[in-house]
Each structure stands twice: as C-alpha cells, then as structure tokens.
Symmetry: C2
C-alpha cells in the first residue's frame, strides 16, 4: 500500500537488519507514525497494547520478536512463552511461533522474512479468488459491507477481507464499501483510511446500521476477516461480526470470510476458543474523552463466534469453499 | 424519578403556568441542566435538535408547543405543521398533535397536562404488566438487555422499556441490565445514568457485544421501546434494535417491546414508515472530538424495523400481547 507516496508493507525490516519498522496503529488514522521494534520486549508490548493488530500481522511481528530474542541470546521457549501470552484469540500468533520453532540466532530473521512473504502471497491469492465473488454480483456499484479492519494494516500487505476489494477496484469494478465503525476501538476507521488512500469509495456507518442497510437492499455482499476459524468453518472474529452474519442470513446477503490458512485452528471447537476480554477503558473513553460515567460498570468482550451455518463461503489462498470444505482443501494441515 | 434529591418528571409546567421545564438531554449524562421552553419555536427546536427525545416525550413537548402557540395567537394549523416537521419517525408526535386538535388558547395547557398525566399512567401500567415477564425468569439476577433509552427520560415518567425494570427493582427482584451504548448518539448512556440514579445494577457494552452475550447465555430477556409500531406488530425503533432481535431469536431469548398505544400507527405498513436520516456529524464526532476523517463519507439512518416474527410479545398499557394481538386489545383505536 502507498503511504506518504511510497509503497510500504505494514511491517518492514529496518536498515540495520536487526529490527523492524511498523506503523503505530494506536495513533492511526489521526497520525501516521512508524515505530521501531528492536527487541522481544518491544514486539510483545506492541502486540499487547495493539500498536500492531490484525491476526496475520500479529503473527508476523511475533516471528520477528522470536528472531530478535534469539539474536539477543534469549532461549526460544522463553521468547515463545512471552509472546504467546500477549493476546489469546488470534491463532496466527501461535502458528507463527510454531513456525519459528526451528529458528536459531542465525536463521531467525530469514524465517520471519519468509513468513511475511508468504503472508503477502496468501493475501494476494485471497484477492484473486475473492474478486470473482464481487464481479459476479453484476451491479454498479457493488455494495460491500465489512466489519473491523482486515486490510493491509492487519496483514503484511493487501489484507484478507480487503484484498478482493483492492483487486476488484484495480480491475475497474465499480465498488462501494460500507465500513462498520467497529466500536469500541474503531478499527473501521483504519479500514476507511486504507480505502481512502486507495481511492475506493466508502461510507462509514455506526455498527448498528448494517442490518437496516441489508433490509433496504443496499448491501450486495459482506466480507470479513477472522482471528481463528475452526476446521468445521465456525468463524471467530471481531465482536459484532456475528450480528452482521445474522442480518446477512436473514436478508439473503452472501456472507464471506477471508481465511488465510494460518488463521485455521484444526484442533479447536468453537466453544473452546478463548474470547479476549479487554479493558473497559476502551468502552469508557474515545480518543481520551470520557463517554461512560464512573457510576456504570462496563464489559468489553473483543470477539464473537459466527456459526458456520451463517457463512456462505470461506475465501482461502487455495480457493473459495463452503465452511465444511476446509479439510479437503488443506489435507496435510488438517491431518497434522 | 429522583434528580438532585427531588422527584421530578421529564417535563414539568413552569411556575409561570405559561412555559415548561425539561431536562436538556443533549447535555446529559455529563451535565444535569434544566431548560425552559416558552414558545412554539422553543418546543420545535428542542425536538428537532434532540434536547428532548424519546417518542412519548416528543409527543408531550409537542402538545405544550401547541398550547403555547395558541396562547400566543398562532393558528392551530400553523403550529401543528411546524411541529410535525421536526422529526419524521416517532408517531407519538403526530398522535399528540391530533389530540391537540380541539385545543384553544384557553384549554391548550390543560389538554397538554392531561396528555402528560395519561403518559405517566400508561407507563406505570406497562411497568405492572411487564414485571411479571421479568419475575417469571426466576434467575438471580435476571439479566436484561436494552437498546437506546426508553426510560424516564424518553417519557414523562417511568419510561416504557425501563418501567418493568424499575417496578421489578422496587419489588426486590434481583436484576442486572446490559445497556447498549447505542451509537451514534449514545442514548445508552442516558439509560445508564437513569439506572445508576435508581440503584439498578447495570453494565454498559458496545452495541457489537449483545449477540455474543446471548450466545453465552448471559441475557435472559430483551426489552426495548418503539418509535412506531404497526397494527401487525412490526416495530420501528432506534437503529440497531433489529440486530439484537435477530440475535435474541437465534438464541431463544425472549424479545419484548414496550408499546404505549400512542406509539401504534394503525394505518401504516412497515415499509412505509419514514426512517429519519440524521446528520453525519453524529457519526463523525463524539463529544466534540472528531473520530471519522473528512476523506470518508458517513451515513446515519436513525431507526430500523424489527419484523413482527422476531418479537416475542408487546407490553402495552392494557397487557401483554403477541404482535398480532394489538387490534383486539385496542378495538376502538384500531377501527378509527
């Protein structure tokens, strides 16, 4: 994606070859600031405090975190334990740490770089497969609803849910994207920032509005990302995704989920996915301004589960499949 | 409701007998400030700019607006036309203007006062009928989810959706209320403020969270208000209500709507209810702080329709009925 006139990735190796540069997503979209992560500590803190977020990007940062730890003489197990504890829900984090198992002080950075390149490849493939789903709608423009941010910023490049949108836009398909604000952390505004940078027409809406828009026939399809998808195709994603899937199902609107294979957890059932409960301050305050008074309690579950029955299809790097078709598409991974 | 140590109504005749005092809901819950409405202009502006909101309260303010206009020598038709144009969706506004048709400069204030007293009576009856629905859950505490504000502040006293909650709390039923934040205008924080003032345990959540809480078995029932309900029981209410009704239906959670009879429109079908599109600034800014960048468009539909099939029952001043049972319960009104 183009930032400040240059093509950039969401995570890049720094010129010193020993640290990485990431966009500080806690400041976006209001400030575009790059931050350097130079140690295991930096990587763990960046993930925990959501300076980086998005399941694939968390995996990439964790991989570099291990590489930096190994080069600093930290034991592999200590590094992976530390990083695994930062956030519980996205399985890509655990996947990336598994991929780093064979790493040493000498090979860590190369393996992390490969993880990043593979992520870009997967997102491009998701884009290529997903663009047909957009094109076949045949309307001008095609109205797409998305929730949270599963774009360039959530990955290394391209994004998952947004990759088909970017591909379709490049191919000249007329598009309009309804962007859910995505309270409490407003990641929809990251999506809006990305889409604006690429010239993709879009409209930000309150999370409450999507069901009404579907009732009105103003949504042709939904595409979202995922933090963890089960073998059977149950989709864990940002809180509120489930509500949009219910509305899509009730209104005959296709509901697609972009799923790179590292987001698949082959060994968990939906009810066992740990749902992160984040700080109530995220609900209480918006950009530093208090909105909820102290006299009230707050709760802040960060993810929900969309049951497979509400999912039209999954868009993976190997093609588009029904929720039940994952194991057939990834037989080696499924058998592990 | 008790405000600053005194029992107050949301609208009261001022000591001069020629104007009314209302709480300025544009400043709540951060500032508790009463404002005086002394003319048709004041009343129309207060409704349009949402210094007063909530379908029953809008009706009450409009009634006094007509009374003040008549006393100032304004023609009845001019006053009703002016007030009818302030907000399109809540039918109580039109109902109250109809009730004021027989008013004169001499009788206007008395008729408006009667409309307010009747509203209090209806809300109390809704409370009495609805409390049984809460009590029969039999859990300690009973977990109730509500959306927007259909409380004391939305009516003259008691509220519609909150009346059964206040009654149950007074009766010693252990309760806990999940309060939807209700973006973009955050009317959930008015609900939280009311509940806190009455000592009712509650937790504010992002609008995205309710579906997850229902999946987790943490919601025993939902109660919401309505701005306009059709003869068949289709419910127009604050944007986002529909998403919670879908989730309730999918999870076997009873979904109740508190409907005072002036909120019933006997002559409209759901698809013909005008849905107010409010200023995008409500999405762009929160408490004066910009959240959505200017590079993005915004949309702000203020209401949606919950189809009768998702509604367990309606709580009216005459009792609890299935959505199809309204006409039998209000035969005279239905035949008008």
């Amino acid at each position: 994606m183009k930032v400040d006139g240059r093509w950039r990735r969401a995570i890049e190796l720094a010129d010193d070859g020993a640290s990485v540069i990431v966009l500080d997503q806690a400041r976006l979209p209001y400030d575009v600031a790059w931050m350097r992560l130079a140690s295991l500590d930096d990587a763990a803190r960046a993930i925990r405090d959501m300076h980086v977020r998005g399941a694939p990007l968390i995996g990439a940062v964790a991989a570099y975190g291990v590489a930096m730890a190994l080069r600093a003489g930290v034991a592999l197990d200590d590094a992976t334990t530390r990083l695994a504890a930062t956030r519980p829900t996205a399985v890509n984090l655990r996947w990336a740490l598994d991929e780093m198992r064979a790493a040493t002080a000498d090979t860590g950075f190369a393996i992390a770089a490969r993880i990043c390149d593979d992520d870009v490849w997967r997102c491009e493939q998701i884009g290529k497969h997903g663009v047909d789903l957009i094109r076949e709608v045949g309307r001008r423009p095609v109205n797409i609803l998305t929730h949270c941010n599963a774009g360039w910023l959530a990955t290394v490049d391209w994004g998952t849910a947004l990759a088909p949108i970017y591909k379709a836009h490049e191919d000249g398909v007329a598009l309009h994207v309804w962007v859910d604000e995505t309270r409490p952390r407003n990641q929809g505004l990251l999506t809006a920032w990305e889409l604006a940078a690429h010239g993709v027409p879009h409209t930000v809406i309150a999370d409450n509005a999507g069901g009404f828009l579907m009732q009105q026939g103003k949504v042709d399809l939904c595409i979202v990302g995922t933090d963890r998808t089960t073998r059977e195709g149950d989709v864990c994603n940002k809180i509120g995704t489930y509500l949009k899937a219910l509305a899509a199902h009730a209104n005959g609107v296709p509901f697609y989920v972009a799923v790179p294979s590292p987001s698949i957890d082959w060994h968990v059932s939906a009810e066992d996915i740990p749902i992160e409960e984040r700080s109530g301050d995220e609900v209480r305050r918006i950009r530093g301004v208090s909105v909820v008074l102290d006299a009230s309690a707050v709760a802040n579950p960060a993810f929900d589960i969309t049951p497979r029955g509400l999912v039209t299809a999954l868009i993976t790097e190997r093609g588009v499949v029904a929720p039940g078709g994952l194991a057939a598409l990834f037989p080696r991974e499924a058998a592990r």
